[in-house]
């Protein structure tokens, strides 16, 4: 998968969980919780959705590593392999 594919997958799941977010307006360094108002339940749902879509299992201790779009793309890229 290319970075663009991963970005698209991540934003797709994010905006499915939080349709109030406009995918085009998400900046690479916007913090999901602080800037985009994703709460912890949304976050858990996002982790589950990413697992289903990309087959990547994200342990709790890695949650900070997907806290922004830029971080998440890097992290997922390494894990998709």
């Amino acid at each position: 998968m290319t970075d663009a594919d991963i970005r698209k997958a991540f934003l797709g799941e994010l905006t499915q969980i939080a349709p109030d977010i406009d995918a085009d307006s998400v900046g690479p360094d916007d913090h999901l919780q602080d800037d985009l108002e994703i709460d912890s339940m949304d976050f858990l749902n996002l982790v589950t959705a990413l697992h289903q879509r990309l087959g990547v299992d994200i342990p709790e201790s890695d949650y900070p590593k997907i806290a922004t779009l830029a971080l998440a793309v890097e992290y997922l890229k390494a894990r998709i392999g």
Binding site: Q16, A18, P19, D20, D39, S40, M41, N45, P59, S61
Partner: protein, 580 residues
């Protein structure tokens, strides 16, 4: 399955603040006597929380150890927090505000929030915290009902959630903005104003019966209710912190609740300061390693948290907690919704102490029923009434109430008379009066009491939803949904969720001309999130051609819930139009 009782040893019992002797000797008069009071019999929460400790020589003790999101940190001593509260009170006074004014705070967990709360109380004004994750609608409704005069918030929250409507609020007098940058037009920058203000302010001569706090809580029908609490509530905040949380002066204490909710005010500001502990305040949201790190590095002794957080820790497994030193922990407590027995025991296994579940609600102002430090714990139970609290289980019989037998499920009721009982629902006397029957305050919660006198929570008697420990009124959510152009009718229920306890689910019937689609589902859900905020908006929306209704046109949420859960449908004699 039955869970083993967790027994306390003799040393633990002897070290507890609450022992059988203390229980036997307790009176509310005596509890009041542990406080300073003001001359001529007055009482003020801010004086008890700050000024009396400074006067007694404890001004140098750290009151708040603040941990910023970006790993910056700041210690505020009792003397410094007292001075900041005085500055905040002076800023209010300089803008012509007088005792009785209503001050609302909408911000995250930053040091100024605490100065604002205590400064407002010191000035004899009324403080109302709002949850920063609320959307514009819940904020607006709460400020309208409470006729807010002052809003303290950040520039970002102001722009996003407040600016578009607040100028239409007739009661509004002042908007204080926290950020360092110049405040938006018509607002006052708080930090420069505080820096220029005097750190001396003579505490308003409030009495125990003067209004101090308004906490909003959701109703099944109608708008949110503003529960009014008085300065006298501090007597209960002091005593219950000692008894139910085992707070001792000098303890390091961490309450993870946000002050936007009643727990974060009663036990995240007032009770700990009155009991002269050092509070840990973490600005960031839940994060597994951060939380374990705080417990270890800050040497937390007493920890008060919530089932949702405990379950999130449990999801990560015991292994994630290995390698941390939790040896400073002495007492763990949980509130918000019943903690499942697995969670109670998990505390024992991972931290060396069980979680002590306790029960109270916005209306009671403080903890009423608790598993305390000296008690053996029956995992999953609420515990026993605290000293000064009489609780019972009652059922309607004709026009009056009868006491239920041990093991029989009924409504949990309390004998009025404790100091932190709400004194009114703002502008809603009829709703308030309905809470009191035959000399009992009716909680709206169903419970039972076993043969040993221990209370067990069963559920809500009404349609309110408890999600991540927060009470959500279906009516408030439904009202926002039907503002969407496609929505004709909406019904909202809570469905069980492993982590949050319950999550909000909406059933929606569409207006003519709108077709069911995944896109429309997202549009409605996004609309609701924008209006209500993520914590309150539905996580799931399903479409129906028609919602089940009674003859009088009332939507039967109970029936939707029973069907959702595969439970018996109960009495459906009033059902007129069924779900399609």
């Amino acid at each position: 399955m039955t869970w083993p009782i967790i027994f306390k040893d003799v040393f633990t019992r002897a070290a507890a603040n609450l022992t059988d002797q203390v229980r036997a000797a307790f009176t509310w008069e005596q509890a009041r006597a542990t406080l300073d009071g003001l001359p001529d019999g007055g009482l003020n929460i801010a004086h008890e929380a700050l000024d009396r400790h400074v006067a007694a020589g404890h001004g140098g003790q750290v009151a708040i150890r603040w941990l910023g999101k970006d790993n910056d940190r700041r210690d505020l001593t009792y003397a410094e927090l007292s001075a900041d509260a005085a500055r905040f009170a002076n800023v209010l006074a300089q803008h012509g505000l007088a005792p009785g004014a209503r001050v609302y705070a909408l911000m995250g967990r930053v040091p100024e929030l605490y100065a604002a709360a205590l400064g407002t109380l010191k000035a004899g004004m009324t403080f109302t915290p709002l949850f920063a994750a609320f959307g514009p609608e819940p904020i607006k409704a709460r400020m309208e009902i409470g006729e807010g005069n002052v809003l303290v918030t950040t520039a970002a929250l102001y722009r996003k959630k407040v600016a578009s409507w607040i100028r239409d609020l007739p009661s509004l007098r002042l908007i204080l903005i926290l950020d360092d940058a110049p405040a938006p037009e018509g607002c006052v920058a708080l930090r420069p104003a505080m820096a220029a203000a005097s750190d001396q302010f003579e505490t308003a001569m409030t009495t125990a019966d003067d209004m101090a706090l308004i906490h909003f809580t959701s109703g099944t029908t109608g708008r949110p209710k503003g529960a009014v609490h008085v300065h006298g509530a501090v007597i209960a905040h002091a005593a219950t912190g000692r008894f139910a949380l085992d707070l001792k002066p000098g303890d390091i204490y961490w309450c993870t609740a946000d002050p936007g909710w009643v727990t974060g005010t009663s036990y995240g500001i007032i009770s700990p300061l009155v009991n002269r502990v050092t509070m840990i305040v973490d600005e960031a949201e839940f994060d597994l390693e951060r939380w374990y790190g705080i417990l270890q590095n800050e040497k937390v002794q007493v920890w008060y948290t919530a089932p949702t957080a405990i379950r999130m820790l449990m999801r990560a497994g015991k292994k994630a907690a290995q390698g941390y030193d939790f040896s400073h922990l002495r007492f763990l407590a949980s509130v918000g919704e019943p903690l499942n027995p697995e969670g109670v025991l998990w505390g024992q296994e991972v931290f060396g102490h069980p979680f002590h579940d306790n029960w109270w609600q916005t209306e009671t102002g403080g903890i009423m029923i608790a598993n305390t430090a000296d008690m053996d714990i029956r995992p999953g139970s609420m515990g026993r009434p605290l000293p000064g609290i009489e609780a019972g289980i009652v059922a309607q019989e004709g026009d009056s109430l009868r006491n239920c037998k041990p093991g029989e499920i009924g409504e949990l009721a309390l004998r009025p008379g404790w100091p932190s009982l709400m004194r009114a629902y703002l502008h809603e006397k009829a709703r308030y009066d309905k809470c009191f029957v035959d000399g009992w305050y009716l909680s709206g919660d169903l419970a039972m009491q076993d043969k040993d006198g221990v209370f067990w929570f069963v559920g809500r008697a009404d349609d309110l939803i408890k999600s991540s420990g927060h009470l959500i009124g279906p009516f408030e959510v439904e009202s926002a949904l039907i503002e969407h152009e496609a929505v004709a009718e909406a019904a909202v229920i809570g469905i069980p969720d492993e982590t949050a306890g319950e999550v909000v689910k909406a059933y929606v019937a569409l207006n003519p001309g709108f077709e069911v689609s995944a896109e429309l589902e997202r549009s409605i859900r996004g609309f609701a999130r924008k209006k209500l905020g993520a914590a309150v908006a539905p996580r799931e929306i399903v479409f129906r051609k028609q919602l089940p209704k009674t003859r009088s046109g009332k939507i039967m949420r109970r029936l939707l819930k029973a069907r959702e859960l595969g439970l018996p449908e109960g009495d459906i004699s009033t059902l007129e139009a069924d779900e399609k």
